[in-house]
């Protein structure tokens, strides 16, 4: 989902900050208009759409609401935005041009000036949500608010989000992922089916078979150009490759869970488990055999690996399981290799015990009300509207009769009208409107409505989604906790992650012996505060499980 995080973006923080501050105060009129009704997408229970759409009293002034989200186009007089404003009696300020770089939000909060509604991306080096709740940057969705926002309430009170409560209050609206609940976490192995076909190889199912397949990809000239210039695999970092592969050896871990699993009577962090050594040995084999594309070593941003994969000389990428992105990946590849195809693979068997991709928590990132929001109820009603069927459909396909018409149950786009509204940005959102993702959810790709609409452009979209989902979800393992947070752990994770990443990289590159290095890594990890932090977290998880 990281569409655009760049280092350049980080360095431009100051400029963006100034701009943010200016617009947050200025309440500019961005955005524009309209539309209609339909898919649940968010959660099975978030189906009614009464709340915000019917309530505005004509005499009341629209409520100004500033929103921070990522990778936004300048909506100018976009009619979908205007229609949302009309139906929710709000005046929205959505700052354009924010890249996928959470550091900007960090700086904004540090200055003490931040918008009313903010979307927060957590990662495994900074527990933003935990710290910002503690320091009072966020305000809760109170019971009074939830009583008036049925869709929001129905989402938050789903059992899987119970552990999002802090001191009995809900602060965070979890943004539901594209795949259905219970699917693998986001990053999965994706392989060139056309190369497998050409070399008459089956899809590998074990870590050993995978190694053999990649060796053949490297040596048997799958691109047919007569040169040995192909690679096995690319992703965004050797350390990341180790974490993406840990599930094959029985360690349930993905960046959106706590990374804790049950060990004995307590809970422990995945990176210090002995199975990590098996994972490291396997990744080292890939590295030593020259199968890993060298850009994997230096590119920490997955978006930068995409054009390299699209060149058509690499067999596997470890990437987001977002299906629209899979379509984009294949399209980009076909510009260079017309008959190319890519499929998402099942998890590889690397151990006799349980293995699989780590089951995801069903959401990524959060939307929250900031403590500077003077209109929390109206803001919550806006979010409630966007979660509703009506809001979902409006923010996805625009206004019926303007941007599309329905021919029976078939959607027919009006491309001319779509071109008039900047929110229909093909570069960031394909054929859909940009507001369908990143405000209250990610694109509802597995909803029937979304799939049908997608088939107007990608004929076998539903089938493609289902086949890939079946493969990816074939073998799953589950972490002990997804959302539990704890102060000691929150303070330690930055240091812990740096120690972990550096050890993984050195071990894979052969700069330290895996066995000896692992023992000394665990020792220094614990000595740097990991032992106490892990114990505190273990207690917190135990407490959350009652």
């Amino acid at each position: 989902m990281f569409r655009n995080a760049t280092k350049a973006g980080s360095l431009g923080i100051a400029a963006v900050l100034l701009a943010m501050t200016a617009t947050a105060c200025g309440n500019n009129n961005e955005g524009a208009s309209p539309s209609a009704s339909s898919t649940p997408a968010v959660s099975p229970s978030a189906s009614t759409s009464e709340s915000a759409s019917t309530s505005p009293e004509p005499a009341k002034e629209p409520t100004p609401i500033s929103i921070y989200s990522y990778d936004r186009t300048d909506y100018a007089n976009d009619r979908v935005v205007q229609e949302i404003e009309k139906r929710t009696n709000t005046k929205l300020t959505i700052q354009p041009g924010i890249p996928w770089d959470p550091e900007q939000l960090n700086v904004m909060t540090a200055t003490g000036k931040y918008p009313d509604v903010i979307t927060i991306i957590d990662n495994d080096t900074f527990d933003r949500t935990g710290q910002w709740i503690k320091t009072g940057i966020l305000q809760p969705f109170t019971d009074e608010i939830l009583e008036q926002t049925p869709n929001l309430k129905s989402l938050l009170t789903q059992p899987e989000f119970e552990d999002l409560k802090v001191d009995g209050k809900y602060y965070l609206l979890p943004m539901r992922d594209e795949p259905p609940l219970g699917s693998a976490g986001q990053f999965v192995f994706q392989i060139r089916q056309d190369w497998l076909d050409k070399l008459q190889l089956p899809v590998p199912t074990t870590t050993d078979e995978f190694l053999d397949t990649l060796i053949k990809f490297k040596t048997m000239d799958p691109d047919g150009n007569g040169k040995e210039d192909t690679y096995g695999l690319i992703t965004n970092g050797l350390d990341k490759l180790v974490s993406y592969s840990a599930g094959f050896f029985g360690l349930p871990h993905d960046e959106r869970s706590t990374g804790f699993l049950k060990v004995g009577d307590g809970y422990e962090y995945w990176a210090i488990q002995p199975q990590v050594k098996d994972t490291l040995r396997w990744v080292k084999q890939l590295y030593d055999s020259g199968l890993i594309h060298p850009d994997t070593l230096t590119q920490t941003n997955i978006t930068k690996t995409r054009p390299v994969f699209a060149e058509g000389r690499i067999g596997v990428t470890v990437e987001n399981m977002n299906f629209d992105q899979l379509v984009n990946r294949i399209t980009a590849l076909q510009a260079n290799v017309p008959d190319a195809s890519v499929i998402q693979m099942s998890a590889l068997k690397g151990t006799e015990g349980a293995y699989g991709y780590s089951k995801g928590n069903g959401h990524w990132a959060y939307t929250a009300l900031s403590s500077q929001n003077k209109n929390p109820l109206e803001s919550a009603k806006l979010l409630d509207f966007l979660l509703s069927d009506e809001g979902t459909k409006l923010s996805t396909v625009g206004i019926e009769g303007v941007h599309y018409t329905m021919d029976g149950d078939k959607l027919v786009w009006n491309e001319e009208e779509k071109k008039k509204d900047p929110g229909f940005n093909v570069n960031t959102s394909g054929q859909f409107h940009e507001l369908n993702w990143g405000i209250v959810r990610w694109s509802p790709m597995v909803s029937e409505f979304y799939m049908k609409a997608s088939e107007t452009v990608v004929p076998n979209y539903s089938q493609m989604v289902q086949e890939n989902l079946d493969r990816v979800n074939k073998y799953l393992i589950e972490p002990a906790s997804y959302n539990t947070s704890n102060e000691e752990w929150s303070k330690f994770i930055g240091t812990g992650k740096t120690l972990e990443n550096e050890f993984f990289i050195k071990a894979v590159m052969g700069k330290v012996d895996i066995d000896k290095g692992f023992d000394s890594f665990v020792k220094s990890w614990k000595a740097a505060g990991g032992a106490e932090a892990m114990k505190a977290m273990s207690d917190a998880i135990a407490a959350s499980k009652g």
């Binding site: 280092k7 350049a8 980080s10 360095l11 923080i13 550091e103 960090n106 700086v107 909060t109 540090a110 003490g112 080096t125 900074f126 933003r128 710290q131 320091t135 009072g136 940057i137 210039d229 970092g237 050797l238 350390d239 594309h293 060298p294 850009d295 994997t296 070593l297 230096t298 590119q299 920490t300 390299v308 060149e311 403590s371 303070k491 930055g494 240091t495 740096t498 990443n501 550096e502 990289i505 590159m509 220094s524 740097a528």
Partner: protein, 302 residues
Amino acid sequence: MNRLPLRKDLRRYRQMYLLALPMVIFYILFIYIPMYGITIAFKDYSVVTGITGSPWVGLDRVREVFDNVFFQRAFVNTLLISLGKIVFGFPVPIALALLLNELRSRWFKGLFQNIMFIPYFLSWIVFAGIIENLFNGSGLINGIRVNQNLDVISFLAEGDWFLGIVFITDIVKSAGWETVIYLAALTGIDPHLYEAAQVDGANRWKQTFHITLPGLANTIVVLLILRVGYLMFAGFEQIFSLYSPIVYDVADILDTFVYRIGIEQGDYSFAAAAGLFQGIIGLTLLFTVNKIAQKIGSAGLF
């Protein structure tokens, strides 16, 4: 030296003071007033309560900084990279200025000077993009190596290569600018000295060693003092745009460490404590080197 009373001085040199005024205001507004924020190094800073509302914690955060394993490494890396840049980079513009000074063709001299100067105007982000495209695994140089059936070298992922690239690109980026400063200083040398030396039979080498270099000495000392004053600042933009976790071992400097802790991990007090330490060392070095320079006969910086 005769000193004028302040009022007379202000009146007499009012145009000079007027010229300096914008920079003075700039420094007051953007350098001195924000220094108040340094206090968060001694507080448990919270964004919501603000600087004044956050509780004092004494030297707790400073102690945490010194205990941090990555801080110690960043400190060493900063010193090594800065010293490397001085050792390899400092003589280059002096040599270039001397060489350019000997050129007869003004046209060629101007052209060469401009070409050297261009990288100085590129931002590090743009420059780093060019470097990445040259040295990456899929970059131009490796493309050529693959065509020659040579192994790919991950220049930006191997510590030694990485440092080499840091030193060389620093020279390419900044040598042009410093050369101009030296060339300007050269124009200040009295041409009569050369004429007199020629009459005495001094060849070009002797003129260089006995007239040109002594004439440049003050400028060299000033630039060296400035360089040493920045010893604790090894080039944030350059390192930040080129490094990745794979080379943290040799490339993580205090600036990047402070950035990661402060901006990426939101621990502002810790980052401020580390940054304060960096500033104090820098200031101490600046004063020390300036004093030494004065002792050995140079005018120094102030």
